[in-house]
């Protein structure tokens, strides 16, 4: 089974991100960079599938030099090889360009299953997974919490608001991950040592047969980045007993805020 994981490096969710000086970008100089949490589920699931069926796990990412660390981390978790598309022409791409790059790269690779995060926790646009599947003309199943492969057919439970669906499709296919799919393993020390020797190919756009004109413009232009309206501390409810405090809280919510 040839398994591909689409991976993105993002600022860790503990990071305080702030508005850039131009008010049109996000300041990320001081943040810690990690594998997108949903992509970590993807790496873990690929490793589990490999443990059952054999095969290889390939990490595919588009990024700059720094993204090498994220690929190495995935290799340390147990992936077999990595491909980093590192080309300055791709640095300013958003999902529209990234999905075209990924699709171009994947046209030269044999795969049975592609696993991606449902979204990256930085730009939160939920685009790249499904769009890449569309560009490759393969089916996708998003927000998967359980998968089972029998006889080249994958059956997945996907979450929706208030419940879940179970879909199945023949491979090749693409699935995106949902929290609950698995618990990603940590990279072990021997894993980290081994990862240093695993193949990591760095490629340019020309190497995968696409040029910057094919990518088109970013689909979104950011006019402004701003902080959400800042919340301030309101009223601390006073009272001598839990009952008094509860009565004052409910009164405030009912009469002042009018929300209950």
């Amino acid at each position: 089974m040839n398994l591909i994981v689409l991976l993105k490096q993002v600022p860790s969710t503990e990071s305080f991100v702030s508005v850039g000086d131009d008010k049109k970008s996000v300041k990320t100089e001081d943040v810690k960079w990690v594998i997108n949490p949903y992509d970590e589920f993807a790496v873990e699931e690929a490793l589990k599938i490999k443990e059952t069926f054999g095969g290889t796990v390939t990490i595919l990412t588009v990024g700059n030099d720094k993204a090498t660390e994220a690929v190495r981390t995935a290799l340390a978790m147990g992936a077999d090889n990595g491909i980093l598309i590192n080309d300055p022409a791709a640095y300013n791409c958003d999902g529209a360009g990234i999905s075209k790059i990924l699709a171009a790269a994947l046209k030269n690779i044999q795969y049975d299953l592609i696993i991606a995060g449902q979204r990256a926790v930085d730009d939160d646009n939920y685009y790249v997974g499904a769009a890449t599947a569309e560009l490759l003309n393969i089916p996708h199943i998003s927000m998967v919490i359980k998968e089972e492969i029998i006889d080249k057919t994958i059956k997945c439970t996907k979450t929706i608001e208030g419940g879940s669906f179970v879909f199945a499709t023949k491979l090749p296919a693409l699935i995106t991950t949902q929290r609950g799919l698995n618990e990603p393993r940590y990279a072990s020390l021997p894993g980290i040592m081994k990862a240093k020797k695993k193949p990591l190919d760095t490629k340019t756009l020309a190497d995968i047969g696409i040029n910057s004109a094919d990518l088109g413009e970013p689909m979104l232009t950011i006019k402004e980045v701003k902080k959400p309206p800042q919340r301030e501390a309101g009223v601390m409810i006073q009272g001598d007993t839990p009952a008094e405090k509860a009565a004052a809280l409910v009164k405030a919510l009912h009469e002042d805020a009018k929300v209950i």
């Binding site: 769009a131 089916p139 608001e161 979104l220 839990p242 509860a246 805020a257 929300v259």
Partner: protein
């Protein structure tokens, strides 16, 4: 110029966000003086088309076909692609739900359009679609211009108001497009009677402070308030609540009228997921908990003592 609103129904019931999308679609169509089409897909859904007339669509395209009885990404994508080909909308509005986020990127890639997901508002400026959307799980907001057409705007539930409006309401029927669709529907399981977190008007959420994982008081209060139960990552990691209840940067982002945080300290990731709530009330025994700095109402107290009293008081109001 034409606006298209893609509605979402499950078992004959529209998602609330579909009414919000129709209302926002009508506002945009009025602002730029264009017509609005609504798309309704399913099987045995004639009456549903009638139901949405009051939100002002000029045309309602109904794909009523047994092949669409259950949602399937590919059949719905192809059928909607037919509608997009026919209507040639420049702006497409839908709910930013699991299914909205499943289908819109595929359609967007198919038509080489642009998409902004989880938007809290939309407008047309200088002939281009613009939207406000949260990034970094709610830590920042961006104002974006959608550069390509069609421009897909996926609206976050509870972000815009629902308004009735006049429209021509002409109904047009089309068939499903099911050519070369490999996905198979196996089954669906719905949590009976459980209110969806992202659509709930009131959320009562519990965190690490719900010692032992006893959510019974939170559940009772939730039921009284006709709300939904939420949880912090800590509570989910403890196994006290399902993943689907998690609010935060790697869970759900919610915007209820009232968010009651019980025993939640207020980590940055959790706060990102609920900061856009209209009113936040926090109950925590630690008076130094960061949540109090961001809450409209704070109660310092032992959760298991305060909550039963809150329940009593709410019962008085509800009579």
């Amino acid at each position: 110029m034409r606006a298209l609103v893609i509605t979402e129904q499950l078992d004959g019931i529209f998602r609330k966000v579909s009414y919000e999308a129709l209302s926002e679609g009508r506002r945009i169509a009025d602002a730029i003086n264009c017509e609005m089409t609504a798309a309704v897909l399913g099987s045995g859904i004639q009456n549903l088309a009638e139901e949405i007339k009051k939100y002002g669509a000029d045309k309602i395209i109904v794909a009523d076909d047994p092949a669409l009885a259950e949602y399937l990404t590919d059949k719905y994508t192809l059928t909607l692609a037919d509608i997009i080909e026919k209507e040639k909308p420049e702006i497409i509005i839908l709910g930013s739900t699991s299914l909205g986020k499943d289908i819109a990127p595929r359609l967007c890639a198919k038509f080489n359009g642009a998409i902004a997901t989880d938007c809290i508002s939309a407008s047309i400026q200088g002939g281009k679609a613009c939207a406000s959307r949260y990034i970094y799980g709610g830590k920042l907001i961006t104002e974006v211009i959608l550069n390509a057409k069609p421009a897909f705007i996926a609206l976050r539930p509870n972000a815009v108001s629902i308004n009735e409006a006049d429209g021509k309401g002409e109904i047009e029927k089309i068939g499903a497009n099911t050519q070369d669709t490999p996905l198979m529907f196996i089954e669906k399981k719905m949590d009976a009677g459980k209110k969806e977190l992202t659509e709930a008007d009131i959320i009562v959420a519990g965190g690490r402070g719900v010692t032992g994982g006893d959510f019974s008081a939170i559940e009772e209060l939730t039921e009284l308030l006709d709300g939904a139960v939420g949880a912090s990552r800590a509570a989910v990691d403890e196994g006290w609540r399902p993943h689907s209840d998690q609010v935060g940067q790697t869970g759900k982002v919610v915007s209820p009228s009232l968010y009651i945080a019980c025993g939640i300290s207020g980590a940055i990731q959790h706060f990102a997921g609920m900061a856009s709530s209209k009113i936040i009330a926090a109950i925590n025994k630690d008076e130094e908990a960061p949540i109090f700095a961001k809450s409209d109402y704070g109660v310092v107290g032992e959760l298991f003592q305060v909550l039963p009293e809150v329940i009593k008081e709410v019962k008085k109001i509800k009579g």
